[in-house]
Symmetry: D2
Subunit: 249 residues, 4 copies
């Protein structure tokens, strides 16, 4: 199997190295990651400049772009591999509910939705993980068994793993996305020259963390696997909008 590995925490991140170690035994590995932390890059693409590729001493490639750029380049064959699958992570911090629309980790997996096997985004439940080994083992188990997985084309598996020993996991759950409240208010700060500037605030609290959600699973110290697709059509809303159109126009 030919495996493209990337992340959004950047080419230096320890979670990337842990993932590379875990997957190297399963096939050929190509590592292409952003040259720096690009958390919250979502599916953004760099269109205003051509990207630079740099190969590091450990063989990893970095790109001065986004996670999605990395998969665009790494998946294209220009670096000598036509990948069968992309695995993105291990992110320092969970990607749950609404997070998936902001996450560069998940976006990188989405960008590999046209590859042969389902793309995988894998995140640690902790922003400062004690260890990436549990998540690395989960990633390895999923990839090793991916051919048995019978999901629709273009499906992405969003995996969140508790930051504990594998023996301490309470289980593995297939989940739906929960969702969050509105984010907090931006936070005002002054720069040293007296100008007011605003930090983007943290994500909102979970509004839907019911059993069955990814939030719930992780809270219960379970691995959460959520299958995602990229068709955001709200099918249930089509009729209402259609009715309104008929009345209004």
């Amino acid at each position: 199997m030919k495996i493209l590995i990337t992340n959004d925490d950047g080419v230096y991140a320890p979670g990337l190295s842990a993932l590379v170690r875990a997957l190297s035994e399963l096939g050929d590995v190509l590592v292409v990651a952003p040259d720096r932390n690009r958390s919250a890059a979502s599916n953004s693409l760099t269109l205003d400049r051509p990207l630079e590729i740099f190969q590091h001493e450990n063989g990893f490639y970095s790109i001065n772009g986004t996670p999605t750029d990395c998969v665009h380049i790494g998946g294209s064959g220009v670096l000598g591999m036509e990948p069968d699958i992309v695995v993105s992570g291990i992110n320092a911090g969970p990607n749950l509910g609404d997070d998936v629309i902001y996450s560069g980790t998940v976006a990188a997996a989405m960008e590999g939705r046209h590859f042969r096997y389902p793309a995988i985004a894998i995140s640690s439940g902790s922003f400062h993980p004690n260890s990436y080994e549990g998540a690395a083992q989960v990633a390895r188990d999923i990839v090793a068994n991916i051919q048995q997985l019978n999901v629709a084309p273009r499906t992405i598996l969003n995996v969140n793993v508790p930051d504990c020993l594998v023996e301490e996991f309470s289980g593995i759950h297939v989940t739906r996305l929960g969702h969050r409240l509105c984010a907090d208010k931006p936070i005002a700060t002054h720069d040293p020259r007296g100008k007011v500037r605003y930090w983007v605030a943290g994500a909102g609290l979970a509004a839907d963390r019911e059993p069955g959600t990814d939030f719930y699973a992780l809270d219960e110290r379970c691995v959460s696997i959520t299958p995602l697709h990229v068709d955001m059509t709200e099918y249930a809303g089509m009729d209402n909008v259609g009715d309104w159109l008929e009345r209004s126009f």
Copy 2:
């Protein structure tokens, strides 16, 4: 009605001005847009620096951040308005099918999913529109009638408008997202110092442009309205993954 207007083409873009003119008669308007073109910014957030707000002579605010940042700031009340709705556009170029996961225009609308009324992203079918007036009129009609619209909370309306006179529209269709083939290969170029760099290539061709899709509607010179949500869970895939988990672990 209190209307937050933004875009991803940047504060200078003529499509923004056209939208502001169209909506100003419907309520109070607050314009907060990126300080430059941020096309393909997706839902990216700026987390590595606090944002700067600048008010232009025409009253528009710009932010040195992404479209999503603009709604985060503009929707928070720090600029003196608590908006009821966000309208994003008018984008120079359509946002169809897979485009919606990359689009800053659509992302800005998504970021307003917690506001009172459904968020609206509006795009011209042409990358170099002859006129924004048709799209502006569609935007005004939708916003004027938004209270009659009976859709689920957190729904976004993704609107694509043919670049022609309103009288030339063939109709208005409620559509589902089509989807695209994999993007083209990145395009190698050399900088003047001899280094190879790669441009991100154009979007893939439409793979699903059947009747009922947004692609089809626009091709038929119809306005396309696609209701979107942000729950990307692939519910249909949950059982398969669950079966596999049972077999594998």
Copy 3:
């Protein structure tokens, strides 16, 4: 006379508009400025991406690059003018002593050192000027008389103007650069996610503000004109280093 005008405060800055108004009566004017505030850009050049040129409704061009990039592009003829002179400003805030090595305003003037007439950088003595009119009038007077000025090729005039009415100026002095103490310590701050980050601190206080310096002139409410060159060779130090070389090698 063909005049290229730029700045480092960005294409929106009121000091740029004031300068354009003042110089438009003296010849053909081409305005090419950074698309955003690039204060402290120094002589930096953008080498990792090709630059984009955008023409605004008022005819000004902006570039997504540095002040030096603007003069590189604007002075090259690609925008239809081969300038005789570059004038940079009016900066919001003085550029005195060591400031000139950090200033984008001064750098932009330096980049025009190969043009026919001496390049001019012009700054207001205040970071929040009450008016740019005094500085604008000084700029116009210097440019109008520039052909009488008998200075060496590649000379730049660094002009600092008190923020007051022209009638209130105490005089016009030709000055040397003073110099500053070491900058303050960087200032620690925490982002909302708990990470420590450091702001670059303010410039150091003036260490040499003796009569004859630019600092002194401005303090006395005089216009300060300092001729600059770009040959940073420390001629006085060449012998000492030579002696040491003879002893050491």
Copy 4:
């Protein structure tokens, strides 16, 4: 001796590692470099965001900023050292004549002008050096003897070293800066979406490469050492400007 080492080619650059190896035997070393290539950053400072410091596995720190930022932070004591000297390099490519006003390598040295010993910028004569060992040895020899050097405060030594074995050097010359012709014209290119963009062109050819200049020394396969200062006052031009002022105002 407490030595701060930085560069403008970024924390990954092999020239940085070579310099660190060469200087580690002479004292305590603190390495603080830009997180990516910042060639041509000049003396630019990052004022629009607070900087992030990251420590790599090899102990080097990187900063998401410019070379000057790195010395501002690294020289301030916040990383546990109050340096006696800054050494910047080894740059891949020479910094000769007018290059010094654009160079991030030289700028980083300038930023250490307030430290105890003269700051040093060191560059290889080749953009693709066969080896950094010759330059590393020159750097070590200069630093080891720096206390014997008797130059004015705030002097910077700009050192360019031929890319050959030390035994092949023809000598070591104390030089003045030569200077270059105007840079080439910017180079038009089209992005994949059809937009014209312009690359900043290469540096101009040497206009003054006479004996005594840095250009000449390097051409002769000599090490070139040019003492620099930051006082750019054109003293010779002060009288002329003064005469003109008297006549004009």
